[in-house]
């Protein structure tokens, strides 16, 4: 698929994407702060419902009675979810708006390089955002992270990124086909948002618990919360499941992309809005 790997194309795609981002600096501040702001209503809701900062009912489901660190970690990790769905999903749609899609896809560079380049760019960017958010949580909210935990945290983040960007590849391809990608990307977002333990333990409802099994975010969040909050979790089980999901989802995402790219070129609908 990536015969004769062209690193220079990937580097140029990453560089171009960063240049575009720097033209809209307000977006950088937004993506760093917003996930943390989205947690605040949950903190207030918790205080209003139970009159404190710990809940025994929550502890039975989540393994920790302290709900604030729980939702904070969910919010930080969800940065990757939003990036995979929105940035990757809109990767080619944005090029349509810029008027550059036809140029890119008619160049002698295989489109998959552009897609992987965008994936790398989004991974780097999201990781930078997550690091800043974690630092905010460490210095302002007193979240405890020891250096010994950093390596396993990075390993789980890598496994998560690979899985989510596999979904992102498929989303990017589907938007070339469907065009009005907004609804489709929302659908991806809804599934990930509702059925993975970002804001609440999925065990609270049998439907969320059943669907969460198929989402990579679930296992990454269990592991990351376990590492960051010192909760019990099965390290190897979560690692292996994430590896299996990644092994399935990346080839599947690329396969969908290839098929759809071929189809849009054949039917001549590439330039349609």
């Amino acid at each position: 698929m990536l015969k004769g790997l062209r690193i220079d194309v990937l580097i140029e795609e990453v560089r171009k994407s960063f240049l575009i981002l720097l033209a809209y600096p307000i977006e950088i501040a937004f993506w760093i702060i917003s996930p943390l702001l989205w947690v605040i209503p949950l903190v207030f809701q918790g205080r209003a419902l139970i009159g404190g900062l710990t809940s025994s009912s929550f502890g039975k489901l989540a393994g920790t009675t302290e709900f604030i660190p729980y939702v904070l970690i969910g919010a930080i990790v969800s940065t990757y979810m939003f990036s995979a769905v929105w940035s990757m999903g809109n990767a080619f749609r944005d090029e349509t708006y810029y008027g550059t899609l036809e140029h890119i896809l008619s160049s002698p560079t295989p489109a998959v390089y552009i897609l992987v380049g965008k994936g790398i760019y989004n991974s780097i960017l999201s990781t930078l955002f997550v690091v800043v958010q974690l630092l905010i949580c460490v210095f302002i909210f007193g979240l405890d992270i020891t250096l010994a935990k950093i390596l396993p945290i990075m390993a789980f983040l890598l496994l998560l990124i690979v899985g989510l960007y596999g979904i992102g590849f498929a989303a990017a391809a589907l938007t070339m086909l469907i065009k009005e990608s907004y609804g489709l990307l929302h659908l991806f977002e809804y599934i990930l948002f509702l059925f993975s333990p970002i804001r609440y333990p999925v065990e609270v409802n049998p439907i969320t618990r059943a669907i969460s099994i198929f989402i990579p975010l679930t296992y990454a969040l269990i592991a990351l919360r376990g590492l960051l909050l010192g909760l019990k979790f099965d390290f190897w089980k979560n690692s292996i499941i994430l590896l299996i999901i990644d092994a399935v989802i990346i080839p599947l995402g690329l396969f969908i992309f290839y098929k759809i790219e071929k189809r849009t070129k054949k039917t001549g609908t590439l330039a349609h809005y």
Partner: protein
């Protein structure tokens, strides 16, 4: 008089045009009816996880209402109108730019705000339909019962709140002329307003500075007023004061919104940035 009729026709034309565009993308049209549930259910599920059930004695002690689902639902339902202001009105001009029709619209013989007003009309109707659907489904599934006495005052409060939000919407639309990335402005404003407005919690649980900030928002008065009538929530502010403050906010927000929009419109044309991305 003929001028007003002329403007009203233009507003309605914009409204109808937007219905036609939305109807072209049917899956997305249907999705918009389902979207509120996706953002509402996490509040419910989070509440269930915290309480181990639906009712909260602590919530009852501070608000007089113990049903977490009913309390959260009313707050969330009213906040649907924030979408009208921040998203529909805010994105109106940016969308035309993407379609390549902004310049054509801006040379039409009506003031620019008429166009944004058309989007406001459309979005209010659309959001209203979504809210009716949402209310029907949630009240049926969760067997919610509301008090119906004071329904006219509920409508009055909602109308005043909505007019205030139109001021915000026209302000956001103005910002997008100069700043282009409208969604960042919309998202930032709606996030901040959502945090400060007592959607799923009473004002009393907010820190003092946020309680004071909340008093400048029409959504705060809208939600506490409506919840008082429909659920019997205890009021920390008297009803006449709620209505008075809503009127003041309406006047201030609409004035500031229009002033900013006119300023940004002139600025955009002077700097020649109208067609820039």
């Amino acid at each position: 008089m003929s001028k007003i009729a002329h403007y009203l026709r233009a507003i309605n034309a914009e409204n109808m045009k937007e219905w036609r565009i939305e109807w072209k993308y049917k899956p997305d049209f249907i999705r918009q009816f389902l979207e509120p549930f996706v953002y509402l259910f996490p509040y419910f599920l989070y509440g269930y996880a915290l309480l181990g059930g639906r009712y909260s004695s602590h919530l009852k002690s501070i608000t007089g209402v113990d049903d977490m689902v009913a309390y959260t639902f009313i707050g969330y339902l009213i906040m649907g109108f924030l979408n009208t202001a921040c998203w529909a009105m805010g994105s109106s001009l940016r969308k035309e730019q993407w379609y390549g029709t902004l310049e054509a619209i801006f040379v039409a013989p009506v003031p620019r705000w008429v166009y944004v007003a058309g989007m406001a009309l459309h979005s209010t109707c659309h959001q209203g339909l979504i809210m009716v659907f949402q209310a029907f489904l949630i009240t049926t599934v969760f067997a919610l019962v509301f008090k119906t006495t004071g329904i006219f005052l509920v409508l009055l409060i909602v109308v005043l709140m909505l007019m205030g939000l139109y001021g915000l919407g026209i302000m956001v639309a103005g910002f997008t002329i100069g700043m282009k990335q409208w969604w960042v402005i919309s998202e930032a404003l709606s996030t901040l307003i959502t945090v400060v407005t007592p959607i799923a919690y009473p004002l009393a649980v907010l820190p003092i500075f946020l309680q004071k900030a909340a008093l400048f928002l029409p959504t705060t008065y809208g939600i506490i007023g409506v919840r008082h009538f429909l659920l019997g929530e205890k009021l920390a502010i008297s009803l006449p004061l709620i209505i008075f403050r809503l009127i003041v906010i309406l006047v201030v927000w609409l004035t500031v919104g229009f002033a900013l929009f006119i300023f940004m419109d002139r600025y955009g044309r002077k700097k020649g940035i109208l067609s820039l991305y």
